[in-house]
Amino acid sequence: MGTLSENKRAALLSVLLLVVGCLIWELSIPAQKAAGELTEYELLTGAGQPKAGVPPPSQVLAKAWEQLSNPFYDAGPNDKGIGIQIGYSIYRVLAGYLLAALIAIPLGFLIGMSSVAYKALNPFIQVLRPISPLAWMPLALFVIQDSEASAIFVIFICSIWPMLINTAFGVAGVREDWVNVARTHELGALKTAFTVILPAAAPTIVTGMRISIGIAWLVIVAAEMLVGGTGIGYYVWNEWNNLDLTSVIFSILMIGIVGMLLDSMFGLLQRTVAYTE
């Protein structure tokens, strides 16, 4: 063991923890009594029906295999493949998120550049920011009158704040020296914004974008439980109503994996815009 690199040892330990964890989980689930062992009375009272319980990992794994081998099947409104459900969720998240970015980044630039704009908008931001995005849902449903668009609105409203605040913070914090370099080179306002301020503030802006996508993915599950119809959040709730806990656990894992992928995409972007002074 001593000769293995740190990363290899860490990976081995991760696998070990996974195996041990699954084993404990598997062994702690009580086996269902077989029908043959039941008394006649028990059979008459329905004890022979399979009881709902937390499934062992082997069942979840079997479910995952079944679902992932055919992720895009569509057998009616209540029976769609996991790929389709996740696709709907990602579509909503990206729609709301991109809309938010389109507004938050230019507005953040303005707020960061002008202290008057910052002071004027700050009270609104401070009041609106702590509102739970789901609190907007009833109002959104009433005004927009469309559940799909309301879900996108909720994503929009929750992902706008970190991007807005980080953009303003990043732009306001651009070193005076770099702005002076732009000034002594007679760069126009637009050229200064794109060639000096944007790259200088990019790491802070992307950090805001990364926080936002994380929040958006958290919120979409709850939003879809409310609006229903499609999406991974609806899928979780629907399987709960079906008392199919295997599917519930499987979809919880899928939410985690997709969230991790979204986050690591922004992690990659963060690395490309990073610079050391």
């Binding site: 020296d177 002076n180 370099v181 002594t184 080179h185 007679e186 790259p199 610079y275 002074e277």
Partner: protein
């Protein structure tokens, strides 16, 4: 004096002192710089050297007074006046070469990309940066190399006036020496007019045609203009052998150590110009008393 290439006329800078009053950094500062001249300004911290620099660069506005270059009133920053900042001010997300092309393409917007790169590479080579180093980011370069890039960026733009704000302030003594030599090399190739702030007397004597001496602030003045009567090309090791060297050096040290404080706070005269000082020891026989004071000759401008 009014016909100087760069003329600074009755420049005054005041700031509110935070108690309702005003704080005068310097008052009625006037001096001129000729085309192709290398002028250093020496003075203690707080005498407003950097403020003068910022006004010349167009990054700050004086309370009153004017700056004229080539007979034209100067206001706001311009590509005609290049600046090398003390902290290099390179853009850290660009490579050394891109930091230079950034300036060159702003200065010469009509040039093709290839020409911009060729021009920039040539100037980086002049300060001793070639090969792989020019494709590195500033964070991967040493302090000395960063300042070289910054100097290359300023010279590559071929401004009418080059402003250097303590360019070697953050460098160690050895690196400082090499880069000073490189600065002399680039400067003598280009006939660039240079105005430089420094704290280092030896550096000023090595580089400058003329040294402006400032009294202590507040109410600082540009008191003297000392001509460096040591012929070029100057080599670091040889100039100390020159008979004028220690005479000039002693004069400068004396001014900074004693007279800058004595002269400070005096009521500035209107349109005060620095008193020209020319120290020449060459006719004097050797082995004499090295005390320079009696041989000081003030030449009225």
């Amino acid at each position: 004096m009014a016909t100087s290439f760069l003329s600074i006329e009755q420049l005054t800078q005041r700031y509110p002192d935070g108690k309702g009053g005003e704080f005068t950094v310097f008052e009625n500062a006037s001096f001129g710089i000729e085309k192709g001249e290398f002028v250093c300004i020496l003075g203690h911290s707080g005498c407003g050297k950097s403020t003068i620099m910022n006004i010349l660069a167009g990054l700050a506005e004086p309370t009153s007074g004017v700056v004229k270059m080539d007979g034209r009133h100067v206001s706001g920053p311009s590509l005609d006046r290049g600046v090398v900042f003390q902290n290099y001010s390179l853009l850290p997300w660009l490579t050394a070469l891109k930091n230079v092309t950034f300036g060159v393409s702003a200065r010469f917007p009509g040039w093709s990309k290839a020409k911009v790169i060729e021009h920039s590479t040539a100037f980086l080579a002049k300060v001793g940066l070639t090969g792989d180093a020019i494709h590195r980011k500033p964070s991967q370069l040493s302090g000395g190399m960063r300042q070289r890039v910054s100097i290359a960026r300023a010279f590559a733009n071929e401004p009418k006036l080059l402003l250097l704000d303590e360019p070697f302030g953050a460098l160690d003594a050895l690196t400082r020496g090499t880069i000073q030599d490189e600065l002399i090399k680039v400067w003598s190739d280009t006939d660039q007019t240079v105005f430089m702030i420094t704290h280092d007397i030896d550096e000023a004597i090595l580089l400058a045609d003329r040294i402006l001496l400032m009294t202590n602030g507040p109410m600082a003045q540009v008191a003297e203009s000392v001509e460096i009567t040591i012929p070029r090309p100057r080599v670091r090791n040889d100039i100390v052998e020159h008979p004028n060297y220690y005479a000039i050096r002693n004069h400068l040290v004396h001014f900074l150590a004693q007279r800058s404080a004595e002269l400070s706070g005096q009521e500035p005269t209107v349109n005060q110009h620095p008193k020209p000082v020319r120290i020449v020891m060459t006719e004097e026989p050797e082995g004499e008393d090295p005390e320079p004071a009696p041989r000081l000759r003030a030449v009225e401008g």
